[in-house]
């Protein structure tokens, strides 16, 4: 009976986020774990009088593992693709081929039934948020350096020169667009080798979850060098060590949450968007304008930060403050 509660979120994704039109060819790519979510999204697509096809596969073993060729072939012919899957398909060839062919892609990695009922998705006013997200993305593009501080001790500089900011508005209306609502954010990939300082993570971390105590990450020459804290810090360090690739320590992203309805709860698609938080990611950056490719991309959510751009404007609690 949970489907009833999930329908509002599904409609939001279909009607507002993707703006699915009548007769459009829609493919829902899912795996056997998330078929219930696929079902509800399919209901919303069918309701919209578009052509709906569900393509389900066995769950992949890691993020960004390639999809079966039959699934990739179906994606290439679609106008709109929703992807509720256990692991993210963001960096697969199947996804880039589909967006290159003009598909609008709504990525829904590790989506939970609760997310389809969450105010972060159901209640957020996407149109109202769009101008500010775009403005912050532009500010990130123009900035040469970001300086991030927080009351708990975050103090890190990130070089941004020549890098382009991106606005994830949750509105995926143009051919080839890609997004993961309710993750609304402005983001940028720092220049490799430039990040320097300390990050005190007090929100959540991908694959670790909500933090019960802060984790301190020391960054030198663009790479995380030391991870200190309690049991969760050890788990985080273990995940990175297991990848067995120095590139997983690369500082890959600075993201600024822009969804006022999002609450930190350990589901990253919601956490990354939480207004008042920022996140710094380690790992792969190849798909976002960076140069490092590796198997993981883990986001570290930090609360209460001030982001200063070129010692001029600041972003505090997600809002722009001109000093």
């Amino acid at each position: 009976m949970k489907e009833i509660l999930m329908m509002k979120g599904a409609r939001k994704l279909v009607e507002e986020c993707a703006a699915v039109k009548e007769e459009e060819k829609v493919v829902i790519v899912t795996d056997f774990n998330l078929i219930n979510i696929a079902k509800v999204v399919a209901s919303a697509v069918h309701e919209r009088k578009a052509e709906v096809v569900i393509v389900s596969m066995a769950p992949r073993k890691t993020h960004n593992e390639e999809l079966p060729p039959v699934v990739a072939a179906a994606m290439k012919k679609a106008d709109v693709i929703f992807v509720p899957t256990t692991y993210s398909i963001a960096h697969t060839k199947a996804r880039t081929d589909a967006t290159d062919a003009g598909a609008r892609v709504i990525n829904m990695p590790d989506y939970r039934e609760d997310l389809l009922m969450s105010p972060a998705l159901v209640e957020v006013n996407l149109k109202a948020r769009e101008p500010l997200i775009k403005k912050i993305a532009e500010m990130l593009t123009e900035a040469k350096e970001a300086y991030v501080t927080s009351p708990l001790g975050t103090d890190i500089k990130l070089g941004l020169e020549g890098r382009k900011g991106a606005a994830l508005t949750g509105l995926i209306h143009e051919p080839g667009q890609f997004g993961s609502p309710p993750d609304l954010e402005a983001r940028i990939t720092p220049v490799e080798g430039t990040a320097e300082g300390t990050i005190v993570v007090d929100g959540s971390i991908t694959a670790v979850g909500l933090l019960s105590e802060p984790i301190t990450v020391t960054v030198r020459n663009g790479f995380a060098q030391e991870i200190r804290g309690g049991e969760q810090a050890r788990r985080f360090a273990d995940i990175l060590a297991k990848a067995n690739d120095p590139n997983v320590y690369n500082i890959a992203e600075l993201g600024i949450g822009q969804n006022p309805q999002a609450q930190l709860n350990g589901i990253m698609t919601e956490d990354e968007g939480a207004l008042g938080t920022i996140h710094i990611a380690v790992g792969t950056s190849g798909a976002f304008g960076g140069k490092i490719r590796t198997s993981v991309h883990l986001d570290m959510i930090i609360k209460g930060t001030t982001v200063k751009l070129d010692s001029k404007t600041s972003i505090k609690d997600g809002k722009v403050v001109v000093s």
């Binding site: 060819k25 493919v27 056997f32 399919a42 069918h46 052509e51 709906v52 096809v53 569900i54 393509v55 389900s56 596969m57 066995a58 079966p68 060729p69 039959v70 699934v71 990739a72 072939a73 179906a74 994606m75 290439k76 012919k77 679609a78």
Partner: protein
């Protein structure tokens, strides 16, 4: 709990009929009516170690209608395709193109829970294969085929130059097609040659018809149905044809002999693939023939089954009142 009863049929379909081995890559194309059957097939294939993907669409409106383009594209890339769907894809262009590209296709139209739990899957398909291939070979060699039946069928068609198809429910070579569990041998008569009367007194397991309470009579001239007589079933077919508004829907597309020894008679409730396989029955396909070696493509293809047929190939009796006479 019906899943338990479906398991043996599913195992036979996956392992015997479709030869999906542990390293195989299977695509299951289904619609919202038959997802539970698709799921059991996937379960068996996955447990065996195969890679399995499922495409689910909304049910098509008529048999032979094309699947969505996205699914057709997936089918193009597949190694082996199973199609538990409520409306047949056997004669769809997507299927023709997939087999042309080397995919093995096992057509599983109307594979309900009941059909999957039925005895039809207990047939020894390997053992029956030589018989089916023999009959198909006789069709290949035949020039003229004559069919009569106690109910009044009296039909002649030319098979000259046409290749018989052996559908033994086994697809183990690239590009091979078979429906299942209807073991059958068939051919597409030469266009324009069918002449006479065909009385369907068994079933028309399509268009929502099923078992026939009163016979449906098709009057055939120059390869096409020119008149259809009978009760409400005949009217239904006539109405659909008028609506389709395409001269090709009247084409006599297929002559086939059912050869599954585990299917003793048509019953009308287990779908087309059950009834068409009933041992010793003959069915006529009407509409698309390009999937069987003919040249006609129509918006639909459906079949009508007759009981106790007698069939002569160039004067030699192959079936006598439903009994197969093979030397």
């Amino acid at each position: 709990m019906k899943e338990i009863l479906m398991m043996r049929g599913a195992k036979n379909i996956v392992e015997k009929c479709a030869s999906i081995n542990p390293r195989g890559k299977a695509l299951i194309v289904t619609d919202l009516e038959l997802v539970s059957s698709a799921q059991i097939l996937a379960q068996v294939a996955y447990a065996n170690g195969a890679e399995v993907s499922i495409c689910i669409m909304t049910p098509r409106e008529v048999d032979g209608q094309e699947p969505p383009e996205t699914i057709a594209a997936a089918m193009q890339k597949a190694e082996v395709i199973l199609t538990p769907v409520s409306k047949s894809l056997a004669h769809a262009k997507a299927t023709e193109e997939a087999t042309a590209g080397g995919a093995r296709v096992l057509s599983l139209t109307a594979l309900t829970e009941e059909l999957m739990a039925s005895d039809a899957w207990e047939a020894n398909f390997e053992k029956e294969r030589p018989t089916v291939e023999k009959v198909a070979q006789l069709f290949t060699q035949a020039k003229e085929v004559k069919i009569t039946s106690p109910a009044g069928t009296n039909l002649k068609v030319s098979a000259d130059g046409r290749k018989g198809n052996a559908h033994s429910c086994l697809v183990d070579r690239p590009g091979q097609f078979s429906a299942a569990p209807n073991i059958e041998a068939n051919f597409a008569p030469v266009e324009g040659t069918a002449e006479g009367t065909f009385v369907a007194d068994g079933s028309i397991p399509y268009l929502g018809i099923g078992l026939l309470s009163t016979p449906v009579t098709f009057i055939i001239e120059k390869g096409k149905v020119v008149k259809i007589e009978g009760e409400k079933e005949a009217k239904k077919i006539r109405d659909i044809w008028v609506e389709q508004h395409d001269p090709n829907v009247y084409n006599i597309a297929q002559v086939a002999v059912g050869l599954n020894p585990k299917i003793k008679a048509v019953i009308g409730t287990l779908g087309c693939n059950y009834d068409e396989g009933a041992f010793g029955t003959v069915h006529i396909g009407i509409g698309t023939s390009s999937t069987l070696g003919g040249t006609v493509r129509a918006p639909t293809h459906f079949d009508a089954v007759m009981n106790k047929p007698t069939m002569e190939l160039d004067g030699k009796v192959l079936l006598k009142d439903g009994e197969l006479l093979l030397q």
